[in-house]
């Protein structure tokens, strides 16, 4: 017995020492026919941040690319995933894990916190879809295929005025940093467009969201905007539905971000999502007989390679899009260099940033234009499509492309 204990302890110590001293800050490898390691960071499993579908879609895209597209120019794509749990500590730990694993590029799904400085120090670029925190917009080693709050809020303002014809808007905002950051961006844009608004601000979580909508509707608005995310999505959508059931004055369109159009939210709220409009598209992927080649590819690939099957809502599309767009940029570099195997992560990043090959974002077909906002150099795409929920899980495209550059440039 003692011998077993000793052996177990020895093995544990050896394992510890091996992992402890063996891991250093690995330098990025040059591209070649060897596997290309892509790190993926995402927030899952915490009460406020739980987006597994984002990661799953990335994984499905990688499997598809390896099976059907020869990986990246002959290099198999290897994913190293890590869960930040939506915390700074988790983000730091993930950064360390991915560096140890030899990631050459990191895809930031929806991790909330990204350790940009750490990745920059390791020479690993970060590619994402949704910049959230201030550092996301300004990190020199990051590129995002979305405009984050500045782009989205400006788009929403334009959409409200031009597509919904709103002259007065009721805004339901929140005191948490995401909402507090978004609100002035939205109101500035509305001021610029001459649209009046009334703001009602609630806390991180409300026992009853209906008073917020009542306050935002006083005086009566033509449309609502909700700046809530996470469980606030279900709360606000449910609350407005409750009001609509009992008072027709609330039966007007409501706009929010794509964060509230996820599969899980729509499943939770069901028909309460009626007449809610979302910045962000993915409408083509919802059509079984879509003619869009990217959407068609998405549907078939997800059916075959995604562990949850075909998922057309919420964060699955951005996840798939993120990997495929990055791959496209990598392939473009490889073709330009005429080499076999995947190029280096830095070369891919440089290609995205400068975009000599006119790479388009997968599915949305937006051209990459990093630096479109000089004070937010990591933003590479600003335009947003808009969709709205119709019924029975169906969405419709309500605006193909809203470009907020005139408001932000």
């Amino acid at each position: 017995m003692r011998g077993v204990r000793f052996a177990t302890a020895t093995a544990a110590v050896v394992a510890l020492l091996t992992t402890a001293t063996g891991a250093g800050a690995a330098a990025p490898r040059q591209g070649g026919a060897e596997p290309f390691v892509i790190g993926v960071i995402n927030a899952e499993g915490s009460p406020s941040f739980d987006f597994p579908e984002y990661r799953q879609a990335i994984e499905a895209a990688a499997k598809y690319a390896n099976a059907k597209l020869d990986g990246i120019n002959g290099s198999e794509i290897e994913l190293e995933t890590c869960n930040t749990k939506g915390s700074g500590e988790g983000s730091d730990a993930c950064a360390q894990q991915l560096i140890d694993a030899g990631a050459q590029i990191v895809l930031a799904a929806l991790p909330v916190f990204v350790a940009h400085d750490t990745f920059a120090a390791a020479g690993i670029p970060v590619i994402g879809n949704v910049p959230i925190l201030p550092s996301d917009f300004t990190a020199e080693n990051a590129a995002y295929f979305g405009g984050g709050n500045p782009g989205v809020m400006a788009s929403i303002a334009i959409y409200l005025k031009e597509n919904l014809g709103a002259k007065r808007v009721g805004i339901v905002s929140t005191t948490n940093p995401a909402g507090a950051t978004a609100l002035p961006l939205l109101t500035d844009a509305l001021d610029e467009l001459g649209v009046e608004y009334q703001v009602a601000t609630g806390g991180d979580a409300e026992a009853d969201y209906t008073p917020l909508f009542r306050a935002a509707n006083d005086p009566e608005a033509d449309a609502f905007v909700s700046l809530y995310a996470g469980e606030g999505c279900t709360g606000t959508m449910s609350a407005l539905d409750q009001l609509r059931q009992t008072d027709p004055v609330f039966d007007k369109p409501a706009v929010t971000t794509a964060l509230c159009a996820s599969e899980s939210v729509i499943e939770s709220v069901g028909e309460a999502a009626r007449n809610w409009h979302f910045s962000g598209g993915g409408i083509e992927v919802r059509k079984p007989k879509t003619k869009d080649p990217d959407a068609k590819l998405y549907r078939s690939a997800m059916k075959k390679y995604n562990e949850e099957g075909l998922v057309v809502g919420g964060f699955s599309v951005p996840g798939f899009q993120l990997l495929m767009t990055t791959r496209a940029a990598a392939v473009a570099v490889a073709e330009q260099e005429g080499t076999k195997g995947a190029p280096s992560g830095q070369a891919i990043f440089d290609s995205i940033k400068s975009n000599p090959a006119d790479i388009e974002v997968f599915i949305t077909h937006e051209k990459l234009d990093c630096g479109v906002l000089p004070d937010r150099p990591a933003v590479c795409v600003l335009a947003n499509p808009f969709t709205s929920y119709v019924k029975n899980g169906k969405f419709k495209l309500t605006a193909e492309r809203i470009d907020p550059t005139p408001l932000l440039g």
Partner: protein, 943 residues
């Protein structure tokens, strides 16, 4: 006006949610004295059970699930959900809170946090979709109330349900035997037990009722709030506020308060619309801080009038060992950690850094909670104040390192002192609640307001610390998780730990532990309890502020979420797990924090990954409960016990020490100097030392002490006797300042009746207690030292570096010698016999060389021989210039020792004179024998 009425109606829905949760909190507190921070989590669990039954027809268990067929109907699912919550309440009573009945309030707070974590973890592990909408249970229609007020029917009906439930609970607890017994046990468990009620059974039954109310509330609330793991937990704070307004007793007031909070918060929405600029610039978080305001106002208004449970056993905080920092105990861990920082990979380095900073936070809790017994749930708020301040100091004003973080920590210390003010009026769980409310206010008012913390779009940046050109930051371009920052954190932690250990060993630590043990006795021993508490809050906040600065340097960019309320709860839990009352415990607690070295190592060894991460929350919560229940001294205490570490002798030593040479007391210089400074004349033997004139004490309508005029002359022993309930101890309490009184009290000609107890003690009045009331956490010698040492800021600062410097304490040695306590001087009171404890109480009173000592029942529990010996010692006191007021039932002792005797009955002096006079006084006879005789001459009192 109409709008304000309208918004009041809109607020009823959320108010009913708060009120319903508040009712359950009141029930749990009434039944068991526990403020259940996990109450919302119980409601949440019931809501998920209900939702799953309605949706999938499955009954979800912590392990596994029962497939029961088709989705359930409303009524069946509701009943099952409520019954499940009731059973959960019973389970919590049996497994968690019953074992903690004798534990201090802190252990119960920690255990309820553990329960909260476990239930949240179970929801994440056991339910697929955690964010759910529940179809309406109550009819949802548009109603128009008189006055043309459009409302939703389900909100109004829910408010009505709240009132009905409150009335039902009020009827249950007023009109049934169970309810009356519960109320009795809440006042006095001992009394209820003596009447034949089982306090344990009552507590269990009340937990079932609390669970039922939680389940009902959680399910009915679900269609309004939605079901998710976060909401119900967050609503606990305002729910506690509502329960506090109801004084944890009145269901109707609690319900009304809950509705009121909801109404006020809704009215703020109207105000936001009317004053948008103000709210945008200054009103951020104002609405969310309403519950805080309610709690703070109630606390300050009611203060000591808040209900405290009359428990059978008052729990003590874990023993606080005397630390011994030396080259080995400090040097070896320092060297090992340094080696680890230099040798191990960057992942381990990061985990170590997280643990080092976590240990600093835990250390701040050791100082405040472990050593002074003050429960604060706002430590991370202190860290946040310093963190955000550091950002301003460095990024905006360019103040260099290390001045900036030290300044930031001092700012946190000021906040800490402010947060400590409520501690002067409330204690225990009530203090925990008000600090929780202050933490919420901090987060909502300060940390979310860009006016104070910096523009949100930029965040609150914190540049790397640099010293003499050397970058000490965690990361630089090209370098990750640098050992330099790790060393900075290690050096800071070491300095703070050694400083804290020294504080504990010195006079400051003795005062802190005295306050922790017994505030009343500390006050009458000359300790300024208020200042001691505020110093502890300030010191603790300073340490937490240092942690906040380190966190800020580590993160490089701050947001309010890093310093949220529930982080404070988590760190309290870590500190308790590690060992709340020792420096070592803080270090162990630091190793357990999220992202710290313990979990990192476990993951490396067991190859955790995401599967393990999912279980981390559950394991942490279970671990917390287990430690709270099984080992209140935490992991550090268990290690000490397992290692057979030599504790400071709590037992009476087997080998008696050599008695010290007799020490003649110095002439009573200090008190008389103080008295002269206060305007009192020097005392001659013919003068009166202590005099009361018309002293009265009232408790409500009862006059406990009625116009008592009494005199103790210098060099005399004066007796105060009377039957039980005559008011003798109350008189002593009034003279020493423990109870408010009317009338005059003079010490050597100087009025002292408007002075605080510690001030009276310092002027030369000392006392003992009928119930002894020693400082159980201090040795016998330390008990005496605590009564003698007088703090100055310089002395406190000196304690940080030289705690063992010797200050002359002749009074201590004299008292030990006089009462033959030499062999026991290193023992701790719990190990002493009753008689020995009595002697220590007397010694403590004498150690400060008082002018007059008030001995309250010193002979109780002594046999005849011991009593006679005590009488001789009392006479010796007089020989040494100490006058005595002796209160006792031992007539033989009193009449043989005293020069003069006063007799009290029903609060009045009924006789006074020599022992012989009193012995034969017929009024005295009648008072003791319960009858009045005809003349004085007919009566005689047996010696």
């Amino acid at each position: 006006m109409r709008d304000y009425v309208l918004y009041a109606l809109y607020g009823l829905g959320s108010g009913a949610v708060i009120g319903m949760l508040g009712l359950g909190i009141v029930v749990a507190h009434r039944g068991s004295g526990v403020i259940n921070f996990a109450h919302g989590a119980i409601a949440m669990w019931a809501a998920y059970i209900y939702s799953e039954l309605r949706g999938a027809g499955d009954y979800v268990l912590p392990v596994g699930r029962l497939h029961l067929g088709a989705p359930f109907g409303l009524a069946a699912a509701l009943v099952i959900g409520v019954v499940s919550a009731a059973l959960l309440g019973l389970l919590l009573h049996l497994l968690v809170f019953r074992p903690l009945r004798d534990a201090p309030a802190l252990a119960r707070v920690v255990a309820s946090v553990g329960v909260l974590i476990v239930l949240q973890a179970l929801v994440l592990l056991r339910f697929e979709d955690v964010n759910r909408i529940v179809p309406p249970i109550l009819p949802r229609e548009a109603w128009t109330l008189p006055g043309d007020f459009p409302v939703q029917s389900d909100r109004m009906l829910f408010a009505g349900v709240l009132v009905v439930v409150a009335l039902a609970l009020a009827a249950l607890y007023r009109g049934t035997r169970f309810g009356v017994a519960t109320r009795a046990a809440a006042e006095s468990e001992k009394g209820a037990t003596l009447l034949g009620y089982s306090a344990d059974w009552l507590a269990g039954a009340n937990w079932v009722v609390a669970g039922t109310v939680a389940g009902l509330g959680g399910i009915l609330v679900a269609p309004i709030t939605g079901v998710n793991p976060l909401n119900y937990t967050l609503f606990v704070v305002p729910a506690i506020g509502a329960a506090l307004v109801g004084r944890f007793g009145s269901f109707l007031v609690t319900a009304a308060a809950g509705l009121g909070i909801g109404i006020v918060q809704a009215e703020f929405l109207q105000l936001q619309g009317d004053f948008p600029d103000f709210f945008r610039d200054y009103g951020v978080g104002l609405r969310e801080a309403v519950p805080f305001a309610v709690i703070a106002i109630v606390i300050f208004l009611l203060g000591a009038g808040l209900p405290a449970r009359g428990a059978l056993h008052a729990g003590r905080l874990p023993f606080s060992p005397r630390p011994r920092p030396n080259l080995v105990t400090v040097g070896v861990p320092f060297a090992l950690t340094t080696a680890a920082l230099l040798v191990l990979g960057s992942g381990y380095r990061l985990a170590l850094v997280n643990s080092l900073i976590g240990a600093v936070v835990c250390l701040s809790l050791v100082v405040l909670t472990g050593w002074v017994g003050q429960i604060s749930l706002a430590q991370m708020s202190m860290a946040g104040v310093a963190g955000f301040a550091l950002s301003r100091f460095t990024d905006d004003w360019g103040i260099p390192f290390p001045i900036a973080p030290i300044l930031a920590a001092f700012l946190a210390a000021l906040f800490g002192v402010f947060f400590g003010i409520p501690a002067l009026r409330v204690r225990g769980v009530n203090l925990a609640i008000v600090t929780l409310a202050l933490a919420v206010a901090c987060q909502e008012f300060l940390f979310k307001n860009p006016k104070y913390t910096g523009a949100l779009i930029e965040g609150a940046p914190v540049p790397n610390p640099k010293l003499f050109g050397i970058d000490l930051g965690l990361e630089t371009p090209g370098e990750l998780y640098r050992w330099q920052f790790g060393m900075l954190a290690l050096v800071v932690l070491t300095l703070l730990a050694v400083g804290a250990a020294n504080l504990r060993r010195g006079a400051t630590g003795r005062r802190m532990l005295a306050v922790r043990s017994n505030e009343r006795a500390a006050a009458t021993a000359g300790i300024n309890v208020a200042v001691t508490k505020l110093v502890a809050f300030g010191a603790s906040a300073f340490i937490a502020g240092i942690a906040g600065a380190l966190l800020a340097y580590q993160r490089g960019n701050l947001s309010d979420t890093q310093f949220g309320v529930f982080f404070s709860l988590a760190y309290l839990a870590f500190a308790y797990l590690g060992g709340i009352s020792s420096v070592t415990g803080a270090l162990v607690g630091g190793s357990l924090v999220g992202g710290g070295i313990f979990f990192y190592v476990v993951r490396q060894v067991f190859g955790g990954g995401d599967n393990f991460a999912d279980l981390e929350l559950l394991i942490g919560g279970l671990g917390l409960i287990v430690v709270a229940v099984l080992n209140p001294e935490g992991i550090a205490g268990a290690i000490r016990a397992a290692a057979g570490a030599r504790r400071p002798r709590r037992d009476v030593p087997a080998r008696p020490t050599e008695p010290a040479a007799p020490v003649e007391p110095a002439r009573v210089v200090a008190p008389s100097v103080a008295l002269e400074a206060a305007g009192g004349a020097e005392v001659s033997e013919d003068r009166t030392i202590l005099e009361t004139d018309g002293l009265s004490v009232s408790y409500g309508g009862l006059l406990a002490v009625d116009e008592v005029s009494l005199r103790v002359d210098a060099g005399r022993v004066v007796g105060l006797i009377g039957p039980n309930g005559a008011g003798k101890t109350t008189f002593v309490d009034a003279v020493t300042g423990l109870v408010p009184s009317r009338g005059r009290v003079e010490l050597a000609g100087t009025r002292i009746d408007d002075l605080a107890p510690h001030q009276r003690a310092r002027l030369g009045i000392a006392r003992t207690y009928q119930s002894i009331e020693l400082f159980d956490d201090l040795s016998v010698r330390e008990n005496l030292l605590a009564a003698v040492e007088r703090p100055t800021w310089r002395a406190m600062a000196a304690d940080l570096v030289r705690p063992d410097r010797h200050a002359a304490a002749p009074g201590v040695e004299w008292a030990i010698e006089l009462l033959d306590l030499g062999a026991l001087s290193d023992a701790y009171p719990p190990a002493l016999s009753q008689g020995q404890r009595k002697l220590v109480g007397v010694a403590r009173a004498l150690a400060a060389e008082p002018r007059v000592v008030l001995l309250d029942e010193p002979a109780a529990g002594l046999d005849t021989g011991e009593s006679a010996e005590l009488g001789e010692r009392i006479r010796h006191l007089v020989d040494h210039g100490v006058s005595v007021l002796l209160v006792d039932h031992d007539m033989g002792l009193v009449l043989s020792v005293c020069d003069t005797v006063f007799v009290l009955d029903f609060g009045q002096v009924i006789a006074q004179g020599t022992p012989a006079d009193v012995r034969s006084d017929e009024l005295v006879v009648a008072a003791y024998l319960g009858e009045r005789s005809g003349t004085r001459a007919d009566a005689a009192v047996e010696p």
